[in-house]
């Protein structure tokens, strides 16, 4: 397993090496070690290309008809349509919240098309083998380095690649189904496993939860569904690569992960998006249900298009993520590395209702240029002896604004609840901002809640130390930042960790001079 992961890593590195050579030819004197970083700094957003696939897009605008149309296109049962309609009607009564520390461009919800289907034009039953997939689409995945092809099976990664709205190809499904694990697109799950979906969909994030949750519930296009049966450990890491592709199409994923008693799953999500001028709206929902003695690890590397150096364009990433630790001794861990998106507004949260349940939140958020991030977590302690840990590292550079916002609530019955939060911010540059807004609400005398935060810049001494030993400033900054974020990066699965580390250096390139 490790070998194959390494193989992928090597393979990706080779690809990058090639690209470097292409651009680097013009700069013969560049430091060899620093080559990669320099190369990335000079080139434009690597994943900024548009694939010409026969996308079926419905007209722009949002009304009840559109909701019905989406439901009809996906051949959904009646109850699903009802769910969407209820959510849509609720959404109409709501106003977009504005409490975040963000300067949001106005979103015209009527100027967005709510459904795009890149697989239409293919056989109705969907592709059976790789040959049936649109070659253009395959190229896109190749460029992204998604290990979709069968030859990558050894990597032990099952991929449910979401491109725009409809799941194109799911690998390893059979292997997983042997153990009773369900890993498929949510639209498929609605058709194939209606009882499960009906039972859990909206149980963690109800459609009334917030403005964007209501919007997503009304128009969600596709996403992943994972069900781990009782006592089953998922033998491989599950991952989904999200990609926003069709121009002006909002991407409204819906992910539902249910881990039954004693189960275990590690789920990875990684994102890149093509270059766009308009802001792209992305309002997803991730729901996780963790039952007794079960454990779920959810890792994200988010690298959507952040807009150009002038702050033009970029993805609006407005996501509701929540896990419900229902059973005793359950465990949930969120790990996120956020380097992309013009605006990131999300709080992966945990509701700890099972006794002795444990939740963790590890986050690195990097903002550069005009990016804005308001991210953090919520830990709601309801059960006895529940424990939560929050480690958040913010790095701001350029003219960006980076905020941590978190809530730790201890309910009256949560005896022995324990929370530790630590939020550090690193400032690179005099025009950026780093903010921390932790909220604590403790209603129990046996709870211990601790919070600490620091904000600082990279110390001159550390830089001097590196310089003294022949490490150029730029590289030294990379070193220090990586060391700073290590605590979080270490929590990621290996190949993700490598990617995340690179992303950090790339995102911060050119900030120190």
């Amino acid at each position: 397993m490790l070998h194959s992961s390494l193989w992928i890593y090597k393979n990706r590195m080779n690809n990058r090496e090639e690209r470097q050579n292409n651009t680097n030819g013009k700069k013969p004197n560049s430091d060899k070690k620093n080559k990669f970083v320099r190369e990335v700094a000079e080139k434009k957003y690597e994943y900024g290309f548009t694939t010409d696939v026969q996308t079926e897009i419905i007209d722009k605008g949002l009304n009840e008809e559109v909701v019905r149309l989406i439901s009809a296109k996906k051949e959904e049962p009646e109850w699903m349509l009802e769910f969407r309609l209820k959510a849509f009607r609720y959404w109409l009564t709501q106003e977009q919240p504005d409490w975040a520390h963000l300067k949001m461009p106005e979103i015209d919800y009527q100027a967005i098309s709510y459904y795009a289907d890149p697989t239409k034009g293919m056989k109705k039953d969907g592709p059976k083998s790789l040959d049936e997939i649109d070659p253009e689409l395959m190229k896109t995945f190749d460029k992204l380095g998604i290990p979709l092809e069968e030859r990558l099976a050894l990597s032990g990664t099952a991929v449910d690649a979401v491109m725009d709205s409809v799941s194109v190809k799911t690998t390893f499904k059979e292997k997983l189904s042997e153990r009773g694990i369900i890993f498929c697109s949510i639209s498929e799950a609605v058709r194939e496993y209606p009882d499960l979906v009906r039972r859990y969909l909206g149980s963690v994030v109800p459609y009334r939860d917030n403005y964007f949750a209501a919007l997503n519930s009304a128009v969600f296009s596709d996403g992943s569904f994972v069900y781990i049966p009782k006592g089953v450990r998922c033998p491989m890491e599950l991952s989904t690569y999200f990609r926003i592709n069709a121009r002006n199409t909002g991407q409204f994923e819906r992910t539902l992960i249910v881990c039954d008693d004693g189960g275990y799953v590690s789920y990875l999500e990684g994102c890149t998006a093509p270059m766009r001028d308009e802001n792209q709206l992305h309002a997803a929902i991730v729901e996780i249900v963790v039952n007794e003695n079960a454990e779920v690890k959810y890792s994200t590397v988010q690298n959507w298009y952040p807009g150009d150096a002038e702050g033009k364009g970029g993805v609006l990433n407005l996501v509701t993520k929540r896990g419900h630790l229902r059973g005793a001794n359950s465990k949930l861990s969120w790990t996120q590395v956020e380097t992309g998106s013009a605006i990131t507004w999300k709080y992966p949260s945990c509701v700890l209702s099972g006794d002795n349940s444990q939740a963790e939140f590890y986050s690195v958020a990097v903002t550069n240029n005009y990016q804005q991030a308001d991210t953090g977590t919520k830990m709601i302690h309801l059960g006895r002896n529940t424990k939560s840990t929050i480690i958040s590292k913010g790095i701001s550079a350029g003219k960006s604004q980076n905020s941590y916002r978190g809530l730790v609530r201890v309910a009256p019955n949560a005896d022995g609840a324990r929370n530790y939060s630590s939020c550090d911010s690193l400032l690179l540059g005099s025009e950026c901002g780093a903010h921390t807004f932790p909220y604590m609400d403790v209603h129990n005398d046996t709870a211990i809640v601790e919070h600490e935060a620091t904000t600082s810049k990279i110390s001159e001494e550390q830089l001097f130390y590196c310089n003294q030993r022949g490490i150029p400033t730029e590289e030294a900054v990379g070193l220090i930042v990586n060391g700073y974020a290590k605590e979080v990066i270490n929590k990621l699965p290996m190949e993700f960790a490598v990617e995340a580390q690179k992303l950090l250096s790339v995102s911060l390139e050119g900030t120190v001079g």
């Binding site: 901002g433 129990n444 809640v449 919070h451 600490e452 810049k457």
Partner: protein, 447 residues
């Protein structure tokens, strides 16, 4: 009816009367304040800075307002026993919101130092008051400040001229005294000229069982190299509601320390806003809250680092017993260009019962890169091991708990500059923890 409407009505009806019994700068600002109050209304839970205190509910009941400045019969010497013993001070009284000028202290203040009624100062020292009145307070943005500015008729004016050092602490005892439920709108203006130094001690007391609603706006101007220590000690009763907004403007090299100590109260909401306009200014904010029954205390601070090399420290400690509720929200804002700022914020809380509830929200908002800022917040209970250790040695559980609480609160007490006040507070806190402190420490009523 919305609770702000009764205040809007009363203001329009009684405008003439309010003006007549006040004067100068106080009257000129009323229109502006009224406009912003009418626009803002009372802040609801959705307003970030007021989310922990239910303001409309506090202003809902019917309170009397003393616009005609009728004199309440009061013997300040009744309250004189609340004095901090062994502390030699220049003692002044403010009864409700009127400066009590019938028993002025015999001491002579250094030349040029003014301690007087704000109403009197508005005419006698019109130039000084006009220059500062309403200049620090956020009349346009804060509804309670606007409300206070609408109704304030009197209060206290303290002026310390250039390079004058007032050795003896100035003590002001605010007495709430009334035969009916009363709303009091008190205004305080403190001006410290260049290099001036002073220590101010405000003690809040109630001498009646009636319900009181106090709004207070304090404006402090600390000029270059001025040093000010400002102590506020609240010992009122459970039917007392206090809204205090303190605005501090600091110029370069100035040092301002503010201590807010809440020993006994009903509902208290303290807002402290500091703007550090000049380089190398220092601000220290300390808070200590001891609450039980159903007391509510909400401290909200904002330190605005607007210049380089400024430094701030904040330490707030809460001991919450029974069904009390505490809230702390501290925001540190470091503006762009305010390099070399050093800022620390700490909030530690002890919940002694299951019903006690604490909200805490330390915030950092930083737009400059060469800064050192940190904040920390904890909510916990007493250390079992420490309790066990003491019980092993024959100290009863109650006593052991008391000792631990006392030690916890001690950190704030030790930071107090006035030695006599420190001693007195140790005594008061101990009494408070023993449950011996009836309503307030030593007024005639409590005996």
């Amino acid at each position: 009816m919305k609770s702000e409407q009764q205040y809007i009505d009363i203001f329009t009806d009684c405008r003439g009367m309010i003006d007549q019994h006040s004067g100068g700068a106080l009257n000129t600002l009323r229109d502006e304040a009224f406009a912003s109050f009418a626009r803002l209304g009372f802040p609801t839970g959705k307003v970030e800075r007021y989310k922990y205190t239910d303001v409309p509910a506090a202003f809902e009941p019917d309170y009397g307002l003393n616009f005609k400045r009728l004199e309440f019969p009061v013997n300040p010497y009744e309250a004189f026993r609340c004095d901090v013993p062994n502390l030699s001070t220049s003692l002044y009284f403010v009864v409700n919101d009127s400066f009590y000028d019938k028993a002025l202290p015999a001491v002579t203040l250094p030349e040029g130092v003014i301690v007087c009624s704000l109403k009197e100062a508005a005419t006698k020292h019109a130039d000084k008051v006009t220059d500062y009145y309403g200049k620090a307070a956020n009349v346009s943005g804060d509804a309670l400040t606007a409300l206070n500015t609408m109704f304030a008729q009197d209060g206290l004016f303290v002026y310390v001229p250039r390079k004058v050092v007032v050795e003896r602490p100035i003590q002001v005892v605010n007495i709430s005294r009334s035969d009916v439920d009363l709303m009091v709108n008190r205004r305080v203006l403190v001006v410290m000229e260049e290099g001036a130094q002073a220590r101010l001690l405000f003690c809040d007391h109630t001498v009646d069982e009636h319900r009181f609603l106090t709004t207070q706006v304090v404006e402090v101007f600390a000029k270059e190299n001025a040093h000010l220590e400002l102590y506020e000690l609240e010992e009122t009763h459970v039917k007392n509601t206090r809204f205090s907004n303190v605005y501090i403007h600091q110029e370069r090299d100035s040092v301002v320390s503010h201590y807010g100590i809440t020993l006994h109260n009903g509902t208290t909401r303290n807002l402290t806003d500091v703007v550090m306009k000049g380089e190398n200014a220092t601000t220290n904010l300390y808070g200590l809250v001891i609450a039980d029954k159903q007391q509510k205390v909400d401290n909200n601070t904002l330190i605005d680092h607007a210049a380089e090399y400024s430094m701030s420290n904040q330490l707030y400690k809460y001991v919450l017993d029974e069904k009390s509720q505490g809230a702390f929200a501290g925001r540190i804002l470091v503006r762009q260009g305010a390099q070399h700022t050093v800022s620390n914020e700490r909030n530690a809380n002890l919940c002694a019962t299951k019903e006690a509830r604490m909200f805490t929200q330390p915030m950092l908002e930083i737009y400059a890169d060469d800064v050192k800022c940190s904040h920390g917040a904890t909510v916990g209970q007493m250390d079992e091991q420490a309790l066990f250790y003491m019980r092993q040695r024959g100290i009863s559980l109650d006593e052991a708990r008391m000792l631990l609480k006392f030690a916890f609160a001690g950190e704030v007490v030790e930071a107090i500059g006035l030695e006599a006040l420190r001693d007195r507070l140790r005594h008061l806190i101990e009494k408070r923890f023993r449950g011996e402190l009836g309503r307030c420490s030593g007024c005639a009523v409590c005996g």
